[in-house]
Structures are given as C-alpha cells and as structure tokens.
Amino acid sequence: MSNFVSQNPLLVVTVVKAAVVLIALLTAVAYLTWFERKAVAHIQSRLGPYFVGPHGLLQPLADGIKNIFKEDITPAGVYRFTYFLAPFLSLGLALTSIALIPFGPAEVEVFGVTTNLAIAEVNVGLLILFAITSLSVYGVALAGWSSNSKYPLLGALRSSAQMVSYELTLTLSVVGILLMTQTFNLREIIVHQAGHYWGFIPRWHFFAAPFPQVIGFLCFFTAAVAETNRAPFDLAEAETELVAGFHTEYASMKFAMFFIAEYAAMVTVSILASLLFFGGWLSPFPAEWGWTLYIPTFALGIGALLLFWDGARYPTLFGKILMPVLGLVLAGLAFASAQPGLIHVIHGPFWFLGKVFFFLFLYVWIRGTLPRLRYDQLMNFGWKVLLPVVTLNVLLTAVAILVFQK
C-alpha cells in the first residue's frame, strides 16, 4: 500500500484532494438549503425551520433521510435509459466543475509532492468551465422529454431554451476580463488582481483600470441566475407554474440529485463571480495595513461569542450543548488564525469563503425579493437587452485598453 503511494504520488494526492473538495461541497450544498429556507423565511416575516435541532440546523439531515426512505416511483411509459441518465448527468456535471477552481495561492507539500490547491490546473480552465456549463442543458432537456408527460416536456423545453440563450451572455460577459488579463488560466486571473490603486482601492476586476467591469459583473450575475434556473428566472420549475417543471415525474433520490445539482451550480457560479470579478482569495485591504491581518480573528471571535450567548439562552438542552460547541470551534479557529505561523494560511481562505458566502446570500436575497419573470419577458430580456449590453461592454473595454494602455 505504501509502495503504491510512493510510486504514484500524484494520483494519490489528486484522489485525496478530490475527496476533500467533494465532501466540503456536498456539506456546503446541504447547509445552503438550510440557509436559503431561513433567509427567505425571515425576508417573508416568518421563522423557517426551527424544530429539527437548534435553529433548524439538522433540517438538511432530516431532508436527506426523508429522500432516502421515500418510495422510488418510476412512471409507466417513460423512456427508461434517458430517464435514469438525466439526474446522473446533471449531478455529475455540476460536481465536475468544482475540479477546475483554485482555492488558494500557495503550493502545499503533501506526501512529498508539491501540489497547488486545485484539483486540475488547466491552462484554459475558464473555457472548460463554460464547456461543462453548456453540457448541463442536457440534464434538463432529457429529464423533461423522457418523462412522457405534458408539464415536464413543456418545462424542459422552456428551461433548456432559457439556459442556451443566457449561456451566450454568460460567456461574453467575461470577455472584458480576458481582454485585460490575456489568459484563460483562473489562477493567473486572480494573481492579476493583486495590488491596490492609490493605496486603498483593490485592483480587482470590478474596479480595474482602464475599464471597471461593473457592467460585466452585473450581466454575469444575471445570466448566471438565469442559467441555474433560479428566481426570478425560474418559471420553468416553480411550483405554482408548471407543477414542478422538468423534474415533476422524479421521486426521492433522483429528485434529490437534481436538487443537489442546482445548488452545486449556484455554489460554482458564486465561486466564479468572486474569482473573476472580486479577487478570489485576495484581501480588500493592502498588505501595508498590518492590522487587517487580524480581521479574520476578530470576525471569528465575534461569531464565537454570539454562539455562546445564543447557546446560553436556548430553550432546549440539545441547543444548549450544540451552540456552545460550535462556538468553541469558531473560537479555536479564531485563536489559530492569530498565530503568526498560521495567519497567512487562514487569511486567503477566509476572504475567499467570505466573498462566496456574500454571493450566495445575494442569490437567496434576490430569490426572496423579486417576482418571477414571465417566459416571453425572460427571453426578450436575454436576447434584446442583455446581449447588446454585454457586447457593448466588450467594445468599451477594448477601446479603453487601446486608448489608455499604449
């Protein structure tokens, strides 16, 4: 066994990295569902899950168990092969795109192999990500068609037409960034955003000279929300519209696969938005302001104190135990991030996770606040408004680069 490890170190390290990232992603997806239900509930002046564990924290576990034990019904008359293929395709593609994303700057040394913090470091990483996104249309289209029923077919046709239309905007909206960085490599795009203007404005692509990619970011995020079939673009799968759209005829585990695929796509898009436009793991404060290195400690410490206080006054016994334990974990992290050895290790991931979390919150916020778009309004918006705007962004960026950078 150790012989195998020493002979193929790269293979073993890659497998370990893939396992770690997958577990982290699936946990994140599960708690994203909890977070979404809580946040949307509070936007709508109600409580959301609060029963299954303190603050409803065990709700995703309950949902998972429910989905496993539900009866798996296969309707008559479905086209069997594609019916069973579609959820696997959706889930597989959604989980694959995580492999291309770099999570940190440094190269670490594991098992004697120096490896960087990405599962696959490809020179055209951004293009391959878009390739995987464009393949995810098949999961939707095949699911709806093979269900042999009116509502799924309509929902699938509408949904896949919507996804294909907004893919154009999604891909064009990053061309402005490509013009400025001249590379498809995700790590180099992040490295290009290091540094600060005038000492305090970070050189992220959102603020970058010669042309701040504000329009690019807004178009990217809108197209991404449409691409992942989320509100306000979720006509094809909302409960009040087409029963449940393309996944009507899917029962327990297969429905759960579609569900996980949707939230994993949300996570991937949030990570992309933070990488491309907001600097990834780079801190917004310049390195000269040494005290900003302790912001993670500060934030984690306040989180720990809040959890302790909440645990102290929680009604149930389980809550009284669980919340302080979580608080202890956060306090331990806060303490660790103050050590001079570990401070640079925790610094990058802290800002990275913070930005990703902000975009996920933006996703949920938009879902809770905006009304749904009708289908023809949606397609009009995608082709007649977003596509010209994003083309204009590319033109303006190119002109700005020509004029301001000899």
Binding site: Y79, F81, T82, L85, V122, N123, V124, L127, I128, F130, A131, I132, S134, L135, V137, Y138, A141, L142, W145, L153, A156, L157, S160, A161, V164, E167, T171, Q182, F184
Partner: protein, 165 residues
C-alpha cells in the same frame, strides 16, 4: 504501455463504440446521445494532442450547442423508433463490403503516408494567442466570410422554420 497510449486507447475505443452505437440504435435520441459521447471522446483526444482551445471549443459549440439543437428537434418532432426492416439485398451484399473496403483503404494509405513521421516536437499545449494571431492575420478573410455565413444561416433558419400565419 505509457499513460498516453492507454488514454488514447480508452478514448479511441469510446469513440468507435459511440459511432457504432449511432448506427445500430433505432431511436434517434439514442443515436444523438451516442454522437455526444463520440464528440466528448474526440475532445479528450484533442487534449491528448495538445489542442486545448480546440477541445474546449468542440465541447462548447459542437457537443453543447449543435447537439442540443439536434436533441431539441428530435423532442419537438416526436421522432419515434425506426421500423425494423432488413437491409435490401443490394445493401447487404454490395454495400457493406464496399464500405469496409473504403475504410480499409483510407486507413491503409494514411498509415503508409505517416509511418515515417516523427511524433512532432515534445508536447507543448497550443498557445491560444498563436491561434488567434493566425486567425486574424493569415486567415482574416476566411474569418469574416464565416461571420457572414453564420448570419445567412441564422436568417435562413428563421425564415424556413417559420409557421405560416
């Protein structure tokens, strides 16, 4: 058996299996899915040959847009399974041998023509910048022509598929 050779055989087998499945399947949707498998296998082969940009373009355009169009048309037209009829006698006794002969000849001459060729320089992934430079300097006329071609095709498709109102 180096890793490259192993990967080549895996993806080549996948491509050939997909192509055979395309021909053998009766329902057009299964043929479409087989063709998608062939395209993805070919994209992997392009990656093996160092053509990263072309591999990504193959998946984005070919497997992700053109084949989606095929799948849409099959879904909308509700294409069903083909009826099961045997090949005609002409097809069975003349057609199939001739096709095999065509393939064998192509393969033989290609092998003979390149058996002396070295494998080229050590593999360096293609610089997209070099590709773009070529596209806009030597091939700029062709590039602009294809832009007009796409415009014409778009107009043609819209006009042709319009329902008479």
């Amino acid at each position: 058996m180096s890793a490259e050779l192993l990967l080549f055989f895996v993806f080549a087998a996948l491509a050939v299996l997909g192509a055979v499945s395309l021909i053998v399947q009766r329902h057009p949707i299964h043929s479409a899915l087989s063709l998608i498998v062939v395209m993805v296998a070919l994209a992997a082969l392009y990656l093996l040959l160092g053509a990263e940009f072309i591999a990504a373009i193959q998946i984005i355009v070919y497997a992700g847009a053109i084949m989606v169009l095929f799948v849409f048309v099959i879904m909308v037209l509700n294409a069903g399974e083909e009826e099961r009829t045997n090949l005609s006698r002409m097809a069975r006794y003349v057609g199939v041998p001739l096709s095999i002969l065509l393939t064998a000849q192509l393969a033989w001459w290609m092998m003979r023509a390149t058996s002396g060729h070295s494998n080229g320089a050590p593999l360096h992934p293609t610089d997209t910048r070099g590709l773009a430079r070529l596209l806009f300097s030597d091939f700029v006329f062709t590039f602009e022509l294809t832009a007009i071609l796409i415009l014409v095709a778009m107009l043609g498709a819209v006009v042709l598929a319009r329902r008479e109102t």
